[in-house]
């Protein structure tokens, strides 16, 4: 079911356009400035800030840190000369040596780069440098070697709750106001590959080949038309696991994930287009296993059962933050396929699709036609038709991009 009926959504779009065009000035790309870093006995360094947020990459370079993201793109470990700390995407927590502290805002991926609130420099950095740190408007002053350490507390209900909050407002206001408005990085996921053939048509068409062709065409169109970065989860005929696909999205800091599939069923007469996004609610068991994993990530060993309510909140929020945007995306994809290609509309639905789970960005899965239907199989094999599908999908992503730029689609605001 669509979260917002289409007619209502269109009205909402129209109202949004009128409102934005009259009230807001032209978009700005965010104010870029620098913090000067003074370290005793070392030359001055610079850290870049954008819209009041610290650019993580500039911190890594300034302090010669090593950084590694976990395979799912959820946790970021930073290692300096005197220690290490862990940050969680969309979370305000900093963890080090079993202790935790809360920053004024979360670690966030926006527009293809990771950013932090400035107080990371005073709260998190000492864990890495072993130096005290004080920050004023435009300068960060570090103490002598050994002058500082990580000031954290043992994880408790408060810090756990802070980690739940993160999904509610994962994009800070300042970035919404001043950050890049449209899409920066899109990940396209051609389904199956290698030993996973996917659906097979009666004359031998395989889904894995078909969707790779369409994804490659779509990638070229997006790069040329929108000038954005496009990453494919596979670029040839090989197997990629479902979790890896999402991880590629997360690790590339994508702000859109589209999985491209071809459809098939037991009856040959069935045809048309379908688009899916992840279901909002899952089972309690799923929620608790997710929460357990979360607690492991935080190093929290809470007694079981005492935080069932918080766990439920956590799960709902994790999905809510993206599901609203994903429903817009799925609706736009389906609209373009149905209207531009004059195909049968089999609807937008929610479904428990494994490849969309764990995507920390709006995500949808599109079925570009039934290869179990012999007539459609013939069409799908035509390069011209594959190009039409890629064009319709391009239009849909452009619609979404425009929706973001105009503020009709709100990021991270359930």
């Amino acid at each position: 079911m669509n979260l917002i009926p289409q007619r209502l959504f269109r009205r909402f779009l129209l109202a949004g356009v009128l409102f934005i065009s009259t009230i807001l000035p032209l978009e700005s790309s965010g104010q870029v400035s620098a913090i000067t870093v003074r370290v005793p006995g070392e030359s001055l360094k610079q850290i870049t800030t954008r819209s009041g947020r610290v650019d993580l990459q500039s911190v890594i370079e300034a302090f010669d840190l090593r950084s590694s993201m976990d395979v799912l793109g959820e946790r970021l470990d930073l290692v300096g000369t005197r220690g290490s700390c862990r940050l969680l995407l969309d979370s305000p927590l900093v963890l080090s040596r079993g202790l935790v502290t809360i920053m004024s805002g979360p670690l966030v991926n926006f527009g293809g780069s990771l950013s932090l609130p400035p107080d990371f420099l005073t709260k998190g950095l000492p864990a890495l440098t072993g130096r005290s740190a004080s920050l004023d408007a435009s300068a960060l002053t570090l103490g002598k070697a050994g002058s500082g350490s990580f000031k954290g507390q043992k994880p408790d209900e408060l810090t756990r709750f802070a980690s739940f909050i993160r999904r509610d407002q994962y994009v800070p206001e300042e970035l919404l106001k001043e950050g890049p408005k449209g899409l920066s990085v899109v990940v396209l996921d051609p389904g199956h590959g290698g030993r996973s053939l996917g659906a097979r048509g009666t004359t031998g068409t395989t889904e894995k080949d078909l969707v790779l062709n369409v994804a490659e065409k779509l990638k070229a169109k997006l790069e040329e038309g929108l000038g954005i970065k496009v990453v494919l989860t596979r670029t040839a005929d090989y197997y990629v696991g479902l979790k890896e696909r999402t991880a590629i999205g997360n690790n590339n800091r994508a702000d859109l994930f589209l999985s491209i599939h071809a459809n098939a069923t037991f009856r040959r007469d069935i045809d048309g287009y379908e688009t899916y996004y992840l279901s909002l609610k899952s089972t309690d068991k799923q929620a608790s296993s997710y929460a357990e994993e979360e607690n492991r990530a935080l190093g929290v060993n809470g007694s079981k059962g005492d935080n069932a309510l918080l766990e439920a909140i956590l799960w709902d929020m994790a999905q809510t933050a993206y599901v609203r945007e994903s429903s817009h995306l799925a609706g736009m994809v389906q609209n373009r396929l149905v209207s531009d290609l004059k195909g049968r509309d089999r609807g937008v639905r929610q479904a428990p699709l494994a490849v969309l789970m764990g995507a920390r960005m709006p995500a949808a899965l599109v079925e570009i036609g039934y290869i179990s239907n012999p007539e459609q199989e013939v069409r799908l094999n035509r390069l011209s038709h594959q190009d039409q599908i890629a064009q319709a999908l391009y239009q849909a992503i452009e619609d979404y991009h425009r929706g973001l730029v105009r503020g009709e689609i709100k990021r991270g605001q359930p």
Partner: protein, 190 residues
């Protein structure tokens, strides 16, 4: 004398019938309570025949659709297994669509507390046509059929070749025990 004998025979038959009836209805009510041995303990119950609501797809492949069928089994677990086998046989009515491949095999069915494990052979993955929604309906034809017809069953864990699998046939998450989704009769997930 003859009359007394006749009365005695009738009495014995009546008591026997009442006993069997009680056993039959009790065992038919659901899964036996779990024993400490858990999985290895077979569910002991009498042979039974019951009318079951089997969930197939409708002709459009958009939603689940119920077909009623009488099914017999030696005991509750056997009945659970036969029900899944009937799903694999497919619908009789042409207005419905099969949703599991014909060549699929039920390797085993076992129960513990409110969960049924359904262990299927690999053909259910290999021979599945491959559409995401067809896969959603396939998974929930099994889950809904078992949870609707056996009130003691709340969760269904599907195994492929004896192991937990990330997905049913490439799309739908079956890594955890699944619950009834009766809304799929209307074609909706939520």
């Amino acid at each position: 004398m003859k009359k007394n004998l006749k009365a005695a025979v009738i009495l014995v038959l009546t008591v026997g019938a009442v006993y069997l009836f009680i056993r039959f209805t009790m065992s038919g009510r659901g899964i036996s309570p779990p024993g400490e041995e858990g999985l290895s303990r077979p569910v002991v119950s009498a042979p039974q025949t019951r009318e079951m609501d089997l969930f197939f797809a409708d002709a459009t492949g958009r939603r689940l659709s119920i077909e009623r069928r009488e099914i017999s089994g030696d005991n509750t677990e056997d009945l659970l297994k036969r029900v899944v086998e009937e799903l694999i046989k497919g619908p009789v009515d042409e207005d419905r669509m099969r949703i599991l491949p014909e060549s699929a095999l039920v390797r085993a069915v076992f129960t513990r507390e409110q969960t049924v494990w359904v262990d299927l052979g690999g053909a259910i993955q290999d021979e599945h046509p491959g559409g995401a929604w067809t896969e959603v309906l396939a998974v929930y034809s099994i889950v809904n059929t078992l949870t609707e017809n056996f009130p003691g069953v709340s969760y269904v864990q599907i195994l492929i070749n004896g192991r937990e699998s990330e997905t049913f046939a490439g799309h739908v998450d079956i890594s955890i025990p699944l619950e009834n989704r009766i809304q799929l009769l209307a074609g909706d997930w939520e």
